[in-house]
């Protein structure tokens, strides 16, 4: 059932929610958290759809905060709150409220959201795009235990990762990190089976995909090794190669669905490694609401190195004029296409992204 409230306030919305629940005959149901989605009209639909599906696993009150600051000075001066309440089959398993914040109110969203949070339940804020520089300092982010950003939506994903590292506070997490959980678990499982020291590693994947950087950072921080980042055509991540004395451990996925795990002295094996929907990512995020220390270590790892090795590496890139146009997955050691240790890749990123954003397979590692 849907209720539209125009020019309203939080307490009217609260009564609206109770009324809507009564009308469909359901009592206060066991919702486990409040999910605040900060978005605009453009991406609200997709985000709500994903959150609605995730709510099948985590019944929640979903508050979509949609800013409409207005273009004209007159529109900006008028502050108004419109709300749309959805309960029952229209809203997954919980309740959904779309909050449209007009004019000046757009910058005061926390005043609307605070009274609508479920009592005593955790709060999660998700910015599908346009996340603030410092999520924990954001007025809405400050209300939450968990703040979900998505570096992939940024203009320069790698620069975004650097920002995330700088402003990290416990409870921050990024969907680029969530996306690589299956990769990480498969690589960990591979090392469960083969007890060897990894000497170095290569991560290959399409450009503008911060997941590849994060995976490389994670490997570098856990294994204390050099990790190269190679740009390929994708989709998403394509190959991870762990170099060991006995040979390479390779996890290779060219079609975004089914991967091949190759290990020395063992037959190649197929592994289902599907690229997941946003709803599945959100569901995974909501499963644990405590700070993700491993993410923190990984994302920060690059930033420290970034300041050390940064400038040095740009020169290396520039001096390497002849790399083949496409990546060379067949030659593991050949780093012809601007293979570079991750920290450097990340370091070069901010500038490089500005330079050549449109050439994914270019030799400038910036975009990786």
């Amino acid at each position: 059932m849907k209720i539209d409230l125009t020019d309203t306030n939080s307490s009217k919305i609260n009564s609206g929610l109770i009324e809507a629940r009564r009308a469909i005959g359901a009592g206060a149901v066991g919702m486990v958290l409040t999910l605040v989605i900060v978005t605009d009209e453009g991406s609200a639909y997709d985000a709500l759809k994903a959150a609605g599906e995730a709510s099948r696993e985590h019944p929640s009150r979903i508050l979509a905060v949609i800013s409409r600051p207005g273009r004209s000075p007159r529109a900006r001066a008028e502050a108004r709150l419109d709300a749309e309440i959805r309960v029952g089959s229209d809203a997954g398993t919980g309740e959904t409220v779309l909050l449209r914040l007009h004019g000046e109110l757009a910058s005061q969203a926390q005043s609307v959201v605070l009274p609508l949070l479920l009592p005593d339940a955790p709060v999660v804020v998700w910015w599908p795009e346009n996340a603030p520089e410092n999520p924990a300092r954001d007025p809405l982010g400050a209300l939450a235990q968990r703040r979900i950003t998505d570096a992939v939506s940024a203009e320069s994903p790698v620069a975004q990762l650097a920002t995330r590292a700088l402003t990290y506070s416990p409870g921050d997490t990024d969907l680029a990190w969530t996306r690589i959980t299956p990769w990480r678990s498969m690589l960990a499982a591979a090392l469960d089976q083969r007890h060897v020291k990894v000497e170095s590693a290569v991560v290959e994947g399409e450009s503008y995909n911060p997941s590849a950087e994060l995976l490389a950072l994670w490997l570098a921080s856990r294994l204390d090794i050099k990790v190269e980042r190679v740009v390929t055509d994708g989709p998403g991540l394509t190959t991870v190669r762990l170099r060991t004395a006995g040979g390479d451990i390779t996890l290779d996925r060219s079609d975004g669905l089914l991967a091949k795990l190759s290990m020395p002295e063992q037959p190649d094996r197929m592994v289902a490694l599907k690229r997941r929907e946003t709803s599945e990512l959100i569901a995974e995020e909501l499963r644990r609401l405590d700070p993700d220390d491993i993410y923190a270590t990984s994302v920060k790892y690059g930033v420290e190195k970034l300041h050390q090795d940064g400038p040095e590496h740009e020169t290396v890139d520039a001096a390497d004029p002849e790399p083949a146009p496409a990546p060379i997955p067949a030659a593991p050691v050949a780093s012809a296409t601007r293979t570079k240790a991750v920290p450097k890749a990340a370091a070069a990123a901010p500038d490089a992204a500005k330079d050549a954003p449109a050439k994914p397979s270019g030799r400038k590692s910036a975009s990786s």
Binding site: E57, A189, L261, M270, V271
Partner: protein
């Protein structure tokens, strides 16, 4: 890896310089526990259990990314099938029964490791072929010699199958690998047969490598009993004889014996259900806090409770068995037990059993535990109801509390998993009147809509070698020690009380509780 972690690991495993995977970290809780390289061999793979539960569970595990790459599944049965026929059967049963959506790439990953071995249990060639298949899979799929043998066959074949496994060297793991046996209930039909079965199985597989499936222990709600009791502060203080009046544990089925006449007749509901499921539920409800969740710590506490169980002196007054008769159940006309096909019309097998047990320890002395189970009862339900004593004094008019019952905490094991609390509340209005209300926690509302199936959890635990959710052989033997005297008494005295299908059991069961001044809950 930190030195501290390394030393802890060495302490736990007793191996110096044990491998600690640098990619794993206890803080990294996104990474699931994935089983190591391994395979599963199912005997009796054409059976119902295998098609409806095991195969879908294997697929669901693969779909959730919890199976190792190269995981292999070998079916063993009498049918004359090729690998492809077998794969087709698995495919169909997965499509029909799996909990998670069907995905082609997951299927492809699984299908590569599927093999079928045709043969009888006496057939030496078949077991030789099984051995070759396992060796072939070690090469082709990298299963590393780790195999679990799931005996989804009638218990009379257990000795035969394990002997064959031994004879063909299948029970001996190559160095650095494991071989495990998984067996389903019934674990014998009395103490003597259970001990014998344990002896046979343990003569082939080491004790720690034998996994007894009691699928109830794989259920989220059952695992939640421990969380409810030991993770919270508000229940444990009243979880004792000072506050608890009695406990009722019920497992009711609405179906009859179906096609299981051959198995069921002569076994009966007490052996089928009370000996394993209900006594396990009782043990979890009653145990003291284990020192840790290490399997050994948990089993030690469960054994203490089971060995402290006292059966009533007069079994005639405090146990009841029944048999369903012709009647109407949920709008359908159904046959009585004695009219079912394949049942001896003079059979005295119980299809309903209720017993009163007490636990002789400081916490529970004097608190009766009423266990009941039956077929063709009102509806399908399993629950544990902890019923509390009445308030010592009620400062209200007697008329005000007329409708107030005893407080109760009910753990709903299935269906509609959750926890209910019943307590008195004032009825809105000008006069003081107190009536029972319930407060509900439902899994379906607060957590994922579909919890993993019990078999998913249990199969994964077998592959991981985690024995926490499996009853150990001592528990099985202790349970039979409780049930044997009752069965003996029933054999010598009287016969099952008839009850109409679709009701909540024979009148004798109600009388049994009435004698103690109590009554059964309607679940």
């Amino acid at each position: 890896m930190s030195e501290e972690a390394q030393s802890v690991l060495e302490e736990e495993t007793g191996v110096v310089n044990a491998w600690l995977n640098p990619l794993r970290d206890p803080a990294d809780r996104r990474l699931p526990r994935i089983a190591g390289p391994s395979g599963l061999v199912i005997f009796g793979v054409t059976g119902d259990l295998s098609r409806k539960k095991l195969m879908p569970a294997v697929y669901d595990l693969a779909n959730r990314g919890l199976l190792p790459p190269g995981f292999s599944l070998i079916g063993f049965a009498r049918r004359d099938w090729e690998d492809e026929d077998f794969a087709q059967v698995v495919h169909d049963s997965v499509k029909e029964h799996a909990r998670t959506p069907f995905r082609e790439e997951v299927w492809q990953q699984l299908a590569k490791g599927m093999r079928f071995v045709q043969g009888e249990f006496v057939d030496n060639d078949a077991f030789e072929k099984l051995r070759e298949t396992i060796e072939e899979l070690d090469k082709a799929q990298g299963t590393g010699g780790n195999f679990a043998f799931y005996l989804s066959v009638p218990p009379k074949f257990f000795p035969q199958v394990v002997e064959q496994l031994k004879a063909h060297g299948l029970a001996d793991p190559p160095k650095g690998s494991w071989r495990r046996a998984v067996i389903e209930k019934p674990f014998g039909h009395d103490l003597a047969s259970a001990t014998e079965l344990n002896r046979v199985v343990h003569s082939v597989f080491p004790r720690d490598e034998v996994f007894r499936i009691d699928h109830y222990l794989g259920k989220e709600t059952v695992q939640n009993i421990l969380a409810l009791r030991f993770a919270n502060a508000m229940f444990e203080p009243i979880w004792n004889r000072s506050y608890v009046d009695h406990v009722q544990i019920t497992m009711a089925e609405d179906i009859g014996i179906g096609g299981r006449a051959g198995y069921y007749d002569g076994i009966g509901s007490a052996r089928d259900v009370i000996q394993n499921h209900l006594l396990q539920l009782m043990a979890l409800t009653a145990i003291e806090e284990p020192a840790s969740f290490h399997p050994k710590a948990l089993v030690a506490e469960k054994l203490k409770v089971l060995s402290a169980v006292k059966i009533p002196k007069d079994l005639g007054l405090h146990t009841v068995r029944g048999q369903y008769t012709h009647g109407w159940q949920g709008g359908e006309e159904v046959l009585g037990y004695l009219e079912e096909e394949g049942i001896d019309p003079k059979s005295t097998t119980d299809t309903y059993a209720a017993v009163k047990l007490e636990i002789n320890n400081r916490r529970w002395a004097g608190v009766p535990f009423y266990l009941r189970t039956g077929k063709r009862l009102g509806r399908r339900v399993t629950e544990i109801a902890v019923v509390f004593q009445r308030a010592p004094y009620l400062p209200f008019d007697s008329s005000a509390t007329e409708e107030l019952g005893q407080n109760a905490l009910v753990i709903r094991v299935q269906p509609d998993e959750g926890v209910t609390m019943r307590f008195g509340s004032k009825v809105p209005g000008t006069s003081m009147e107190v009536r029972d209300v319930s407060m509900d926690f439902a899994y379906g509302e607060s957590f994922t809509e579909s919890s993993p199936e019990a078999y998913e959890r249990l199969i994964l635990d077998v592959l991981l070698g985690d024995a926490n959710l499996f009853p150990r052989h001592q528990e099985v033997e202790e349970s039979w020690k409780i049930l044997d005297p009752i069965e003996e008494y029933w054999d010598k005295h009287g016969k099952p009380a008839p009850y109409e299908s679709g009701t909540w059991g024979p009148a004798e069961a109600d009388e049994m509780l009435a004698r103690d001044g109590r009554s059964w809950r309607r679940p």
